[in-house]
Symmetry: C2
Subunit: 201 residues, 2 copies
């Protein structure tokens, strides 16, 4: 019954886990990542691990050097981060406009569930879960509105979140997202966009 694991599932799985750990600050900047170590940890060979690391490299989280492997990328400068925030906002506002137009009752259920998960993580003050459910919520409307640009959005968001996560206040995060979702439920586009802008900074 349960889906048999296959390479891309492995690769996806590893990719997601490593990304989550990077976001939550488990690895130091410039720390090298060893393929064999991860392969052993996940009980696979190096192949799927390489796939995952390569993808994270493309997202900009990791940096590759030939024959030296991959290491955690150094953080963005303030100015670079500002640009990334601007780009993400531009993309996500576009998606939100489209999402609100096409939103279904099922979508509303889904985002309510995702918001609940985020709230719960905030109350438990669990950084990895907050970061993950934050991204998952935003990702929902992006994926619905423009699957073609989902990977673009993910790359920007991850790089954004990597620098400041440690400083965020959980109560603020919860409040901001509650506001966004409320505005969506009211189908108030302008209000939603304003709430988005307050959240993506």
């Amino acid at each position: 019954m349960s889906k048999v694991s296959n390479r891309l599932a492995f690769s996806d799985h590893i990719c997601d886990i490593i990304r989550r750990e990077l976001i939550s600050g488990k690895f130091a900047h410039d720390e090298p990542i060893r393929e064999q170590k991860l392969a052993t940890r996940f009980g696979t060979s190096r192949g799927p691990v390489r796939d995952a690391l390569l993808r994270l490299t493309q997202e900009g989280i990791l940096a590759y050097e030939t024959n030296k492997g991959v290491r955690v990328n150094s953080p963005l400068s303030e100015a670079e981060r500002d640009v990334v925030v601007g780009m993400r906002l531009q993309l996500e506002k576009f998606c939100m406009r489209k999402f609100i137009l096409l939103v279904t009752p099922s979508d509303l259920d889904q985002i309510s569930i995702l918001l609940e998960r985020l709230s719960s993580a905030c109350k438990r003050a669990s950084l990895p879960e907050v970061a993950e459910s934050d991204l998952a919520l935003h990702r929902y409307w992006v994926a619905q509105a423009s699957p073609h640009l989902e990977s673009t959005w993910l790359g920007l968001s991850v790089r954004m979140i990597m620098k400041y996560t440690r400083l965020s206040k959980y109560e603020d995060i919860e409040k901001e997202h509650t506001n966004i979702v409320s505005a969506i439920l009211e189908k108030d586009l302008e209000k939603t966009l304003i709430c988005l802008e307050a959240n993506i900074i």
Copy 2:
């Protein structure tokens, strides 16, 4: 002596070639890409090919489906393309501001050479070479100003260029880039940004 070939060089090489062919429209949308075929063509095993295809997937050019392999992604909608253009412009203007501040005589030589290559390709009306040298020129100042965001920029640029390349007029392309480079040589930031905006559309 000459650099011994290694996996990432293979992977890079394959990645660049496939990207170029995709940009110049050698493959149809939704056409599947077969690993073994490429491996045979490049005289390698499937490993490096998989690496390359995976990276192009992350860039959004290709789309992966588990156990079915990779195919050329369907094109962006008009609205999606507009958003991508906006994001790229935001990023590239940021890079240009920084680049002009720090530009060295060596940089000026380099971009002159790259511009010459682009002009030559335009005169020969060679679409693959125009697309490649166009990207190479822009890439130069992006890489100089913000290596961290180079891969982000590349993803946006490739997706942008994939849809309209066939329609571009070579004379316009040549002129626009000559204008940009001239403005850089004059170190006139405002003028440069205006020329950039006229080119990235």
